[in-house]
Symmetry: C2
């Protein structure tokens, strides 16, 4: 009985860690909606090429992180090996039910994962998923994810400057790596 309990507990914990195939493809994180939510943005744009008008219903982006990594960050201000972020992109809608202004979230469009793991040359790697994807290869370095995160992320490779409950932790622990312009 006790063994069964610990097997169940181990299975639960395992589902919250990055899982790889033999050739280092990331298995689709199945239960990320039950991980810890960090923040959302809507229609965020990061460069001149994307500064065009976002239209009437710009996409929402939600960020989740696995609970073990969140707990470690709260204690240390740093991300441990095996940290996995999910950035979920959802459509927005404006008129529906009793709502007549602003935006709320609807269908999932796609999601991306970022993993801290020493098996990757830069220590972090990025992966893209759609509903139909079971596993994904790391996005090539030429896509620029790594370069932008490494240059602009407030803590390590991550945009903690946009996570309002974690930025104060990083400041208190002294892990913010550079001046960040939103302050």
């Amino acid at each position: 009985m006790r063994t069964l309990f610990f097997v169940a507990l181990a299975g639960f914990a395992l589902a919250q860690e990055p899982q790889f195939t033999k050739d280092n493809r990331l298995m689709k994180p199945a239960d990320y909606r039950e991980w810890v939510y960090l923040s959302s943005g809507i229609g965020m744009t990061y460069g001149p090429a994307r500064e065009s008008a976002p239209g009437d219903n710009p996409a929402f982006e939600n960020v989740f992180v696995n609970p073990r990594a969140y707990k470690a960050f709260k204690e240390t201000g740093a991300w441990p090996q095996g940290t996995i972020f999910v950035l979920e992109i959802r459509k927005s809608e404006s008129k529906g039910s009793i709502n007549n202004g602003g935006h709320y979230q609807s269908d999932l469009q796609r999601f991306e994962a970022e993993v801290k793991d020493s098996r990757f040359a830069d220590g972090w790697a990025f992966f893209g998923f759609s509903e139909a994807t079971d596993s994904a290869q790391a996005i090539p370095k030429s896509a620029g994810c790594q370069a932008c995160h490494s240059k602009n992320g407030a803590v390590d490779n991550t945009f903690v400057q946009f996570y309002p409950t974690l930025l104060p932790v990083a400041k208190a622990k002294g892990t913010v790596k550079k001046a960040i312009s939103r302050e």
Copy 2:
């Protein structure tokens, strides 16, 4: 050792349940950011009085629910006794760090809780919190929270029509109580 483990586990579970004072004030939920995230909106407006232009930085609203209630909902499409929702209201900002368009979340403004508990006449009650509030009395019925939720919520007293991962569950379980206009 085993006893200590179960005491710790019980303490953890207790922190995710609504806690009341002797006079039925709701204790401030301390750890709701570690509960299950349901969705976010920005600048949502529900009636003619609030249809005015929301300004450059309309507020974000994030919704969280306690994990036990979420798990029960996934299984049954209904909310159990002891369900507690938190609606968190945060400021939005637009220009900061590398962001030059759209909106991201910043400071907490206030949060509200909705609890399902038979100690309240309507079976549900609403509570308002700020940073400084340790416990809160149920918001009077005259404020209209109950009337609007009961009339317009897709499932029981809750706006499941705005929670994109739960609406399909409610439909599959047959617990959507009325036609909802966003469909």
